[in-house]
Subunit: 138 residues, 2 copies
Amino acid sequence: MSTDHLKSVLKNHNLRVTDCRIDVMEYFLDEKSALSQGDLESKLTGYDRVTLYRTLNNFLESGILHKIPNESGSATYGLCHDTCSPEGHMDNHMHFKCNRCGQIECLDKKTVPEVSLPTGYQVESVNLIVDGVCVKCA
Amino acid sequence: MSTDHLKSVLKNHNLRVTDCRIDVMEYFLDEKSALSQGDLESKLTGYDRVTLYRTLNNFLESGILHKIPNESGSATYGLCHDTCSPEGHMDNHMHFKCNRCGQIECLDKKTVPEVSLPTGYQVESVNLIVDGVCVKCA
DNA sequence: ATAGTTTATGCAACTTAATTGCATTTACTG
DNA sequence: CAGTAAATGCAATTAAGTTGCATAAACTAT
Ligand SMILES: [Mn+2]
Ligand SMILES: [Mn+2]
Ligand SMILES: [Zn+2]
Ligand SMILES: [Zn+2]
């Protein structure tokens, strides 16, 4: 993934091109797993915590990242598909959390099943998280 | 739900009967929705927040409550079925989060579907959270 | 019922994540 | 290259989560 491509992704989402945003995007592309703010702070030590925090929020609002629900305290984020935008997220895939290594990954190939709810409930989005042991830790 | 019954629930889970634990259980039974530690602190003002914190943890380990994954910072908890124990949780139902009122509720009647993962993944548990608009807010 | 033992509670203190304001620097527009 | 809008760094604040320890309460066994 070239830097020029990353720049065009940012521009397509109406975000200015900055070093921090490029580095954060590259980090997400390099890693297979979802990342938390703490992960960014450990890896990208050249940036202030608040800058990383705001980068995550900007990416979230722009549709570059999606937030993954979990049971632990800190939020984790995964890369969105190209089809995501501020208007809504289109990537309805499952997520997997390994109970050994703790990593959370996007199962892009696994779409979440349709759900039907009792009368009166309006469904807007569905999140499905599988816990278990990942391939590497098995 | 009588207080005597609540006491027997505590004893069945090898927990001592205390005012705080009774009050917390009653609160969960009165509310239809899942609750966070902040909810307990607002409602049960007579107890220290550390005591409420430890009560939630004890109930979690004992199988009286289960933790519900979410995207916000603070954890939320729901009442377990009688079949849950420290050895494992047996209530594999969906959860619903209303984007209007923010409440999270257990859909006890809706069991999560079976999922099949790529080769090498070991599935231990599945969480399914539906976001949308609840009956009251529709 | 009571003494002895175990557990729960309250309080203080600490860690960490999340969040905001503001001055300064940087990126974009023309 | 100048002007404008946005991003960054730093300081400071809020809130959740967590632990240690002394005291109070719950249980157990006389
Ligand atoms: Mn994902
Ligand atoms: Mn539930
Ligand atoms: Zn693993
Ligand atoms: Zn609602």
